[in-house]
């Protein structure tokens, strides 16, 4: 399942719901992305995430389907927020449930790596000197490329 939303999410509730009633699940892995208060050596007061409504949902569904093809998952979940967030807030949740841990760990890692380079989101950071758009990092491309 994928969700794109402005509101925060309850991590415990989401993970419980993901595994509820399915006793073939042996483990659930998850990654939660948070807003940091530093970018390099500059202080970040807040961040605004913009996205491309319509394409975002399409891409997240594609990425999730790809993970389900590659690994035997019983359930998966991607929640990505948009709008303004302050340091410490949750931005994104990726969770994977599988009978065994290896598939769950790998699929979770794959999902966040691919999401970072393929889902149409852009971060605007509010720093002391003003607001600026975050540049894409070559290391993110390299991380996504290793799953090809």
């Amino acid at each position: 399942m994928i969700r794109v939303q402005k509101e925060d999410f309850d991590l415990g509730e989401e993970l419980r719901a993901l595994g509820a009633g399915n006793h073939n699940i042996g483990g659930i892995t998850n990654f939660v992305g948070l807003v940091r208060d530093m970018a390099g050596d500059e202080h970040v007061g807040a961040m605004t995430l913009e996205h491309y409504p319509g394409m975002t949902e399409k891409m997240l569904e594609k990425i999730e389907a790809e993970a389900n093809e590659r690994w035997p998952l019983e359930a998966s979940l991607i929640i990505h927020r948009y709008g303004r967030m302050e340091p410490g807030e949750q931005i994104v949740l990726v969770a994977c449930a599988s009978p065994h841990r290896e598939a769950a760990f790998e699929a979770c890692h794959f999902l966040i790596d691919w999401l970072k380079t393929k889902a149409p989101f852009w971060k605007l950071e509010e720093k002391d000197g003003g607001a600026s758009w975050v540049n894409a990092r070559a290391s993110d491309d390299a991380a996504a490329a290793k799953w090809r």
Binding site: G33, L49, E50, H51, Y52, G54, M55, K58, H80, I91, V92, I112, L115, K116, T117, K118, A119, P120, F121, W122, K123, L124, W133, V134, N135, A136, D140
Partner: protein, 83 residues
Amino acid sequence: MKILYFAWMRGKTGIGEEDVAPPAEVTDVAGLIGWLKTRGPGFEDAFANMDVVRAAVNQEFVELDAPVKAGDEVAFFPPVTGG
């Protein structure tokens, strides 16, 4: 044809969305960019460095040689930075 601009590209063009009717010679994304650039300094500036411009046609990532036609939704944006 509907054109969308995101992140700093919207800042440079000054608009997030517009409906355009490019001339018949415009048949692919590269041609469309060439034509959009003629419409003012903000557009020229937005497409000045193509290394940091990505495109989507009908919500699918495409290369610059991808075809475009009337009725398409074409989006321009910098490399994505979510997650």
